[in-house]
Structures are given as structure tokens and as C-alpha cells.
Amino acid sequence: MSTILFVFSRPPHGSINAQEGLDALLMGSAFTTCSVLFVGDGLMQLVAGQSTDDLGTKNFSLSFGALKDYGVTRIACSKPDLLARGLNKDDFLIEVESLNAAAMQAFIRNHDKVLNF
């Protein structure tokens, strides 16, 4: 069975890309082995304390807490992109591996398919 790596590169809330990517990941993990890599402003999806009450949109960041329960195998982010944004992993709402360039390339190589959002 093909394994799938989901790559998330868009910030949350400004467009629905992030939310529709997460929907696809949750669906994917019901069918096969899936992992996820956050790159660029996609890292912003993981920032803790998101509160959309006043904005009036869905706070889908709460679903990230359930990724492990859904069976998502590895949850990782780009270390260079983390540093470039002045963030550290304590700012995130879940535990995430941070990978350097070589480790990210290996991560991609070790999956059969890549779906980008």
C-alpha cells in the first residue's frame, strides 16, 4: 500500500488551503500510512492559542491535537523555516520534529506519494 506524505505550506485562516489540506490528511490516514511536513508559512498552522471566535471562522487548529489518534505516523516541520520565523517548538500546540534539509529530503524519499497543499 502506497504511503503518502502531506506537505502543508500555507498559513491558516487567510485562505481555506490549510483547512482543506488537513481534511485530506485526516481522510488519508484512514486509508493508508500518512505523515505530514510543515514548510514555509505552513508552520503557522501549528501556533498555539489560535482563537477564531471574533473572526467567526472555524478554529481547525484544534484538530491537530488528534493527528496521532488518527494514526498520522510522523509530524515534522522545516527547521530552517522555523528559525527564519523566530519561532521555536514551544510556540506550537503539538509536538513536532524539526528537520534539517537533508532529513526533509530523506522524509520525501521515504514516502511513495507526496500531496502538497
Binding site: 487567510g14 485562505s15 481555506i16 473572526l55 467567526g56 471562522t57 472555524k58
Partner: protein, 130 residues
């Protein structure tokens, strides 16, 4: 003071459509007026009557309809943008021999001249882009 508001973003796909609505409400709440809201580019998707969003997401398109109708504010969707994107009123549906129309109540399809006219005559123009 009189505002013209231009919306380039589709509901859900982009936050622009929701930001513009919050801005428009604040304009009125601040005692100013709005001469027209012009939906251009993907903004015309706001006028699609067939949108059926999930229960847990804000019904942005419906909220625009209520805002326009409730405050008697013109909501104009650009005709050229609409034709490319499949938003039709009954007249255009007939003209292009399409099976039906899908323009939501409260919206009017009209030409780009309405954008220029609104821009010229407003004191301020604010665009919500994508």
C-alpha cells in the same frame, strides 16, 4: 464620509470577502455611508446562491445578502467576472442558453463602469484583494 468597497476574494477560498464585510459593517457603525460594494475577480463568487457551507463555518455569502438588503446598499457583481465564473442572473442565463441562474437575492450583475463610478464618487475606496 462616503466609502466605496471593492471585493476581489471568494468566500471561504479567501478571507478577503469576510474582512470586507466586517469593514463595511464598521463603516456604517461609525456613522459613515457606503455608496456601493463592487465584487470583482473571484469576489463575484459571493453572489452564488447555490453555496451550502458547513454548519460550523460562517455563511459569509448570506451575511453579505442580509447586510446589503438590510441597509439598502448596492451589491454589484461585475458581469465579465460573473460570466467567466458561472454566476448568472435570469437575463444572462437566457442569453447564453444555460439551464438555470444562480444569482443570490440582494446582488445585481452590472458592468465595470459601476466600479469606476463608485470610485470617482466616493470619498474613499478600499479594496479587499487576494
Amino acid at each position: 464620509m462616503n466609502f466605496a468597497i471593492v471585493v476581489h476574494g471568494a468566500p471561504y477560498s479567501s478571507e478577503a470577502c469576510l474582512s470586507a464585510l466586517k469593514f463595511a459593517k464598521a463603516v456604517l457603525a461609525s456613522g459613515h455611508s457606503i455608496n456601493r460594494v463592487f465584487f470583482y475577480h473571484d469576489g463575484v463568487h459571493t453572489a452564488n446562491s447555490l453555496i451550502a457551507p458547513p454548519q460550523d463555518e460562517a455563511p459569509v455569502s448570506e451575511q453579505w445578502q442580509e447586510f446589503g438588503t438590510g441597509n439598502n446598499i448596492e451589491l454589484i457583481a461585475c458581469i465579465a467576472s460573473c460570466l467567466r465564473r458561472g454566476i448568472l442572473d435570469e437575463t444572462e442565463a437566457d442569453r447564453y442558453e444555460k439551464s438555470g441562474s444562480n444569482l443570490a437575492p440582494g446582488f445585481t450583475i452590472s458592468g465595470l463602469g459601476q466600479l469606476i463610478d463608485a470610485s470617482i464618487n466616493a470619498d474613499r475606496v478600499v479594496t479587499f484583494g487576494v
